[in-house]
Amino acid sequence: MKVALTSKKQIQVKSGMLQQLLAFASLIALVIVFTLSSENFFRFDNIIGILLSTAVIGVLALGSTFVIITGGIDLSVGTVMTFSSVMTGVIITFWNMQIPYGIAGGILAGALCGLLSGLAVAKMKIPPFIATLAMMMITKGLSLVISGTKPIYFDKPHAEGFTKLSLGSVTNWLIGVEIPNAVLIFFGLAIVAGLILTKTIIGRYNFALGSNEEATRLSGVNVNAWKIAIYTITGAFSGIAGILMASRLNSAQPALGSGYELEAIAAVVIGGTSLSGGQGTILGTVIGALIMSVLTNGLRILSVPQEWQTVIIGLVVIGAVYSDILRRRKA
């Protein structure tokens, strides 16, 4: 009995790993193809560039993973990101406050938007697609209203260091390798998200909700409260993405962000998370986001015309998801 049990578990672990391995294999394959096609691809600078360009979308994708595992969706992550960056700008530049307040304010603004979406979904029973579509419009408009349709620049004397937040490098200082902070923050957040999802009570309810919401409710779990909490987490991640974005551009650009939600969702799904809820992993999302940005970067390096880039990315999205489906069917 003991023996049988262990072997069963091993098989499960293996199949779980297999899934990641498969996505990982696609990623490696892409890297190899591009390395062979262009000598300029596999260079330290370019790899760092890819990682840096993954950071913002990646953080959005991490946040989206939570909502998607509940079987929901968040179309507002892109504009909430922008809204948060604008709020950070307002706090630091208009209100002349220190950077940490700006950061806290931005994350809070994102979390608040998530909270409101969560309330609409959980309490008003508005389908997530619609609730977050509305949130997308509202934050898009408010970003422009608050900023006065102008970029907000972080040029106060006390905001000097703001751009270091994402472009500086603690590793340079620590171990002499220059990895931008934004990249470290992205991976750090991935670990945090992974821990939340697998080790905490909210993660457990996240999967339970996505698997069978009614059964979870009948088990006495306060489904609404947890759902709101999960949307709030997603909002907070969008807030962090907004701060990374603002710090990288050294300004809050109020017109940005539309369309980012679809990229984030694509990354999540390529990473093997199911849109119907109940299953998904953070590692998958990280790999999914990397696949997207390696692909974009590689095609650019190869100077593929932009219109063809779009077509190719579309085909790769289909291909990646299909190979995942085939794998599951076999398993």
Binding site: D45, G49, D155, R248, Q306
Partner: protein, 302 residues
């Protein structure tokens, strides 16, 4: 039984002139709006200013024009995303005796009484000349353009490209990419261009977002000074970059002037006064040396 003149007045009795632009979120358009508002105050008329979110949204602009016509304005200012697509409505305006004033890049139609515009092709060609001068007449360059299909995107790209091809055989355009005017996307794609073409000597950014993206990319790759950046438009980040030398220089149009002249011409047209067909609001090259000069200063916006 409606008499034409009371149709043309807003509820408060002022003349009403809507401006339909190509966008509203960009700094450039905000500067045009500023100029228009200045003129509105001066001539005591009421204006509104709107435009679609992206320059691809030809149909949204048509709807805005439609709604504007339905408000029975005294005159209309119109920066056509696609003149031919707007022809039926322009004819409607003509039939309703509503004067149309073109702005920004001109309306390719006989209907507008006047056009207050920048010649984007010529302006981009000037940028090309400056680029050639700065890189010493030979080497690889690339373009980061804000839009693949819109009039301004196409004109600036082609104006730049044609001048290089005609006059500078030793300069090679190795890549043209489109970043949608999105600062972040432009940054990432410029980095890819630089990776792909390590010998690149100069990059042209076709509007504010693109140019800033190029500057960001070069800063992030620590190649300041090694790659010449030529930009287009102003805005704080660009003027800062020019001052600090990260950007060699840029073309600025006179957006405030465009807005002002458009409203002014519209008022005159509505009053039945005659106006010149073409109002060239001009463009200027600015760099570190002349950025604070009296000639350039009024044409920059933050």
């Amino acid at each position: 039984a409606c008499n034409k003149d009371d149709k043309k007045e807003a509820s408060n009795g002022k003349m009403y002139i809507p401006l339909i632009s190509k966008g509203f979120q960009h700094q450039f358009w905000q500067a045009v709006k500023q100029g228009a508002e200045k003129a509105a105050k001066e001539f005591d008329v009421e204006i509104t200013f709107e435009g679609p979110e992206t320059e691809a949204q030809v149909d949204k602009q048509i709807e805005m024009l439609q709604a504007a016509l339905d408000k029975k304005p005294a005159a209309i200012g119109f920066a056509a995303l696609d003149s031919k697509a707007a022809t039926p409505l322009l004819e409607k305006a003509k039939a309703a005796n509503i004067p149309v004033i073109g702005f920004d890049s001109g309306v390719d139609s006989p209907i507008p009484l006047a056009t207050a515009a920048t010649n984007n092709v010529a302006a981009a060609a000037l940028a090309a000349d400056k680029m050639a001068e700065l890189i010493g007449g030979k080497g690889e360059i690339a373009l980061v353009v804000h839009d693949q299909t819109s009039r301004t995107g196409v004109d600036r790209r082609d104006g730049f490209k044609q001048r290089i091809e005609e006059k500078y055989p030793d300069i090679k355009i190795v890549d043209i990419q489109y970043g949608g005017g999105d600062h972040l996307k432009s940054t990432d794609l410029t980095k890819a261009i630089i990776q792909a073409h390590p010998n690149i000597k100069g990059i042209f950014g076709s509007n504010e977002g693109s140019a800033i993206g190029v500057v960001n990319a070069i800063t992030e790759l620590k190649k300041e000074g090694q790659i010449i950046v030529v930009g287009y438009d102003s805005g704080k980040l660009q003027t800062d970059a020019v001052r600090s030398g990260k950007m060699a220089g840029a073309i600025t149009q006179n957006p405030v002037g465009i807005g002002y002249e458009t409203v002014k011409a519209a008022v005159q047209a509505a009053k039945g006064q005659s106006i010149p067909k073409a109002i060239d609001t001009g463009f200027l090259w600015y760099d570190k040396t002349n950025i604070d000069s009296d000639e350039v200063k009024p044409n920059l916006y933050d």
